[in-house]
Symmetry: none
Subunit: 220 residues, 2 copies
DNA sequence: TGTCACCTTAAGCCAGCCTTAAGCCGCGGA
DNA sequence: TCCGCGGCTTAAGGCTGGCTTAAGGTGACA
């Protein structure tokens, strides 16, 4: 198992490395958002331990970028602040778990294990649904081989739907995916994006399930 | 979304109910391990909030039994003790998340959401009755392999019947399933839905037991 | 600083679903 | 054989929820 740890305190980082290594985990450690992005661009991890307060930004940004491009690698957040607001923000923005400092190394290791175990068995790089292909790594979408250009929001909506073709996603879930949920959009944004998406990728690709949400047509 | 909350403190239980209800979650509350087992035996939930310390035993026992029979319903543990040992024990015994009292209601709601969302899409029980297959995870129904499109209410009625093929369900039970167990509809709605269902999935699939209710024909 | 794409908001329209209600049918008991 | 009750069928009406369109705002980029 390979885990990326993003933590700017070198002492803490070392401690985590040792703690996880005892459980047979391979650890890559970086200290900044920039390095984290570089690591994510070049390697695949089974889980990521992510500090929120980093010298060059917030870990939430990195997390948001990942989820935005449909990278589902499990993320465990780490923060000095034990504030409820942070926890909610983190969980709703796509984190899989949360640990507040100070924490116990054994507990962290257990949670990393749990989170990675949960994730195992998923993760397909290229998502397919009928004639539509979505590549999270290049942020590109093709319909019957033809490339289609989508805006950022459109891409996120489509990614949310394609993560599990055939499965119904509620508008609320999709909204949670687009925003951190606490932005609480008071309108029919999702409907509008769905509408625009349908114009671009074909009118029948996204099915409406009245009262429940939307789903990708998985069968052709 | 339907959640079972197992908590013996009535005040806390009430608070949780209200907190979750605000997020559009239907909550069933019980106070003992015994009641929890009964609820689990008769109903299906999207997530379970489980107190560890209960008057007639530990929530861990209930969790253990569930996992023992391969019930993968996501479980969020709740306990007064904020001890690391408990956390690890809980996570490693198959819980999906952990919240220590005192906790914030918003946080609990966010975690329940996160845990249920994570779970959705795995472990499709796929209910069968004769040529009819109902997949709760994709909300889809097929008859002899052919997909059939049902409205939300029709789906609920069918799901209620297929939960236990061969078993009679009264109109009252089905109504309770469609609406919260109050709201008392003053008409023959269920009969109408049954009628429409029969038109869609085949006239013989649902059998009428005069004076008692309806049941699925389990055998072909 | 101006332009452009994109996102959000809002409003009106439309369709499908749910409920209600009324009349009919058939089973079972007298 | 007749009657009553429970279930079946049908159709109408209201309403919710989704679709569509358009306008205004905002941020990026030149």
């Amino acid at each position: 198992m390979r885990v990326l740890v993003v933590e700017d305190d070198p002492i803490l980082l070392d401690g985590i490395k040792v703690g996880l290594a005892l459980g047979g985990v391979t650890v890559d450690g970086v200290a900044t958002c920039a390095d984290a992005r570089a690591a994510l661009a070049t390697s695949r991890f089974d889980a990521i331990v992510l500090d929120l307060m980093l010298p060059d930004g917030s870990g939430l940004d990195v997390l948001g970028e990942m989820r935005g491009r449909a990278d589902a690698t499990p993320v465990l957040l780490l923060t000095a602040l034990d504030e409820t607001a942070d926890r909610i923000l983190g969980l709703d923005s796509g984190a899989d778990d949360y640990v507040g400092k100070p924490f116990d190394l054994d507990e962290l290791a257990a949670r990393v294990r749990a989170v990675a175990r949960r994730h195992a068995g998923r993760a397909a790089p290229l998502m397919l649904a009928g004639a539509i292909a979505l590549d999270p790594s290049t942020l590109s979408v093709t319909v019957a081989g033809e490339p289609v250009s989508l805006s950022r929001r459109e891409f996120s909506v489509l990614a949310a739907l394609m993560e599990r073709p055939g499965m119904v996603r509620s508008k609320g879930e999709i909204e949670d995916r687009l925003y951190g949920w606490q932005e609480e959009v008071e309108s029919n944004t999702v409907e509008v994006h769905i509408h625009n998406l349908r114009n671009k990728i074909g009118r029948t690709a996204i099915e409406t399930v009245r009262g429940l949400g939307y789903r990708m047509r998985s069968a052709t």
